[in-house]
Amino acid sequence: MYLKKNILTRRKFFNFILGFACVFSSKLSFAEKQIGSPFRDRFQSYRQTFRIEPDPEEAKRIVRNIIKGREIREDLIYLKAPDIAENGNTVPISFSVNCSMEEQDYPKIVHILVLDNPFPEIARFYFTPESGEASVAIRIRMRTSSNIIAIAEMSDGTVGATKSFVDVTIGACS
């Protein structure tokens, strides 16, 4: 008997190729968003474990995705970091946001990024009006001497950012 089902016709063949093309193009279009977005995707931890070389392009992409083309306000956030850090394992930094902590005027999220680290994002801080002042001190790791960037996203949609350069003598492994 002649089975027609198992035969690969020309129509089936072209459909197969077209479907593949569709899937690939969609993945490529989403890829740029996935890598640069500050939120972790499923493979972030995998990439972090095996990619040891820092990628400055990705840091720039993350900063661009946070700011999203908005105007950067000046004198909004103050970052305090040492000029020279002897040990890269513990670099004490602190920041404070210059605002009245009311419903319309408080920082929703503050990001801290070190550009030359292999995984540039370090911490995110979420504030509420109940926390009377948006100022935090924390200790971070730095691999090489590089810029620290602090970005504050306010509740009314404006953005403020500062950066300061830190010279590291003995780098950390991070």
């Binding site: 994002e121 509420t128 926390s131």
Partner: protein, 136 residues
């Protein structure tokens, strides 16, 4: 080994005992944790140590979340963090640390807030007849 495991669970929280109303107080937190970034290799065998970090730190005051922070592998080992809070009523401050593996640990402290006249401000209202009033 048991000692190392215990080390990863030690937490510290420093909150002032008393404060005036409307004062902004600082809360200091410290967790003893290795914060393995997942990049380090064993020098002899070359095996990568698996990543183990504290992901999330939450601060609650009287059960309401007032502050939260997400951490990634860039935070140093034995992470120290200090932040501010506005003292309005006296109550319970709870800080919770959540691990990469979902293990959570918390520490709590009590703060008493006084008026200008030296009167305690307590969030709950008590009846006159209740005997709890004598205790407070």
């Amino acid at each position: 080994m048991a000692n190392e495991e215990r080390k990863n669970w030690r937490r510290r929280l420093k909150v002032p005992i008393s404060a005036l109303q409307g004062e902004i107080i600082t809360i200091k937190t410290m967790a003893e944790h290795i914060m393995e970034p997942g990049v380090r290799r064993d020098p002899e065998t070359g095996v990568i140590y698996p990543k183990k970090i504290i992901d999330l730190v939450i601060c609650r005051f009287n059960g309401k979340q007032i502050y939260k922070s997400h951490w990634f592998s860039g935070v140093s080992a034995n992470p120290f963090m200090s932040f501010k809070m506005k003292a309005i009523t006296s109550g319970l401050v709870e800080v919770e640390w959540v691990d990469d593996y979902g293990q959570s640990s918390y520490k709590k402290a009590v703060i008493m807030v006084y008026d200008k006249n030296g009167k305690k401000i307590i969030p709950m209202k008590l009846d006159k007849a209740s005997s709890i009033k004598e205790v407070m």
